[in-house]
Each structure stands twice: as structure tokens, then as C-alpha cells.
Subunit: 144 residues, 2 copies
Amino acid sequence: MDTSLRRTLHERGMRMTPQRQLVLDAVRELEHATPERICEHVQRVAPAVNITTIYRTLELLEALDLVRHTHLGHGAPTYSTEGHQHVHLVCHRCEAIIEVPPEELTDLIERLRSRFGFVLDASHLALSGRCAKHAEPAVEHDGS
Amino acid sequence: MDTSLRRTLHERGMRMTPQRQLVLDAVRELEHATPERICEHVQRVAPAVNITTIYRTLELLEALDLVRHTHLGHGAPTYSTEGHQHVHLVCHRCEAIIEVPPEELTDLIERLRSRFGFVLDASHLALSGRCAKHAEPAVEHDGS
DNA sequence: TTAGGTGCAAACTTTTTGCCTCCGA
DNA sequence: TCGGAGGCAAAAAGTTTGCACCTAA
């Protein structure tokens, strides 16, 4: 399955290791997992794996574009893979997260690419705003 | 200028204080400032103000919808106000940030509101992806 | 036999908490 | 004089670094 990972690593003088495979697997299985959670997951199979290795491996996998991280609200970032495609609408009044299909962004993606040459990563995007329940602002801004 | 802030606080049994005014002013002046930078800025005028107060005040102002935070890349979040309107395209291969006018999002905002009741906060949005220079992925994903 | 990779411990950065004091309504 | 607010110190959370050891090429 990860022949291409092994090859990519080898091309760069790096090695495929059980730890790297386990971390990648964990990211794929968990989706939106923090380094902490990934570590716990990996340690169920290989208890000796250290959280330092998790961080180092996540950094590596991200540099190889195999995983990506997002800040959903406060706290630790969450990691996911391209396979996990959707957009997150994060309410900044409550902690609600609405997942919507990436098709909502098709037009925007096209526009950003043609105008700015920017390739939007729609595989896991977090957009902040207010959910239906909290649509009204907390403070009315008057003209004073 | 911040009569409305004073009133809002009072309605909730809270008080207007010099610290709160200074933090709000700092966020407005600096734009995209980290808590650290805001603290330094405030301390130029009032050296005794503690970073704890910065954090507490930012949390308060955010709850009142007067400021908002965004994660631009790694590291500490940055705070800004509604007055600072634009969208950030953050390249996750380099640290480049392209600022584009919020009008690019008009359609999306409409769609999210009508379909999901979600009010997107377009005042300072960070979209991650790859800039023109880094448009090609680091690893070619083959079918193997 | 050499360089990459890992584990471990410690350092570091960023944020939160507890507690005491101060102060305005 | 009561409760909100801020300062200070310590703790907690999250991440990085230094270093020794191990191992696959």
C-alpha cells in the first residue's frame, strides 16, 4: 500500500520505518486527530513509540504532502489526509462544527486558481463564523 | 469611542477598565498581532499590565465579538478586528501569505448562509493551500 | 562504518489557573 | 462591603531540542 511512501523516502535518502507506517495509518484511521491522540493510538500497537517521534513524523509526512493539519478552534491542531474531504464550518460562539461537502467550494477554488495561481487545499478546510443558533452578534455596533 | 463597549460590559455586570481599552486599541492598531505582541504594545503605555490580563481580555473581547483570532500558519494565533477586512491565502509549503479582497467570497457567503444558516466571518479568513510557486505536490500519488 | 531514526529527558513556548489584593459601585 | 478585575507565580499544555544508542544500508 505504501510502496510510494517507501520510494519517496528512499529517493531522499530516508528510510521507511514501522513508526512512520504506524503514524500514517493512525492519521488515516482517526481523521482530525491531535498529535496526542495519534500517539495513544500508535502506542496501543507499539507502546515504546515516543511522542517526539509522532511530532517528527507528522512534520515529515506533512512536508511530503501526505497529511495536513488544521486548527479547529482552540488547542492542538488536528491532522488528516487527503482522503478525508470536506469543509468545516466552525462556530466561534459555540464549539459546533458543521461538515459540508467540498463541492460548495468548487467555484471559489476555480477563481483563486485562475486569479492568484493559488491552489486551495479543499480537503480539510476550516471556515469560522457563526452557526444558525448564534447568528446574531453578541454586541450591536451602533454609530456612536 | 467605546461607549458601546462600556455599555455592553455594564449590562453584563462587568466594568470598563483601562486595560480593556488598551487591549482593544492595540488589537485595532496592530492587526494580526499575537497575544505576545499585543502585550508588548500595551506595556509601552502601561508597563505593569500582565500577559495574563491580555489573555483574559482577548477572550472577553472575542466573546463580545469585538475581536477575532485566526491561525495563520504555525505558532500563536493572531487577533484582529472587523475593521480589517480581507482573506488570507496561506501557502503551507512556504510561509507566504497572499491577501485577497473579501469580495472573492461573496458567492460562498451567500450559499453557506442560505443552505446551512452559517454566517461566515469573512473579515479575516485564512485559507490554506499552495501558492503559485509551490503548486505541484511534493509526492506524486500513483495508483499502487 | 556511517548516517538516519528513535527514545528519553530536559528545555522551551504558549496558555491557563489559583490566589491574594485592590478598587469602584 | 461585595464582587469584579488585575498582578503574580505556579501549573498545565503543547512542542522542540540535545544527545546517546541502535540499526539498516
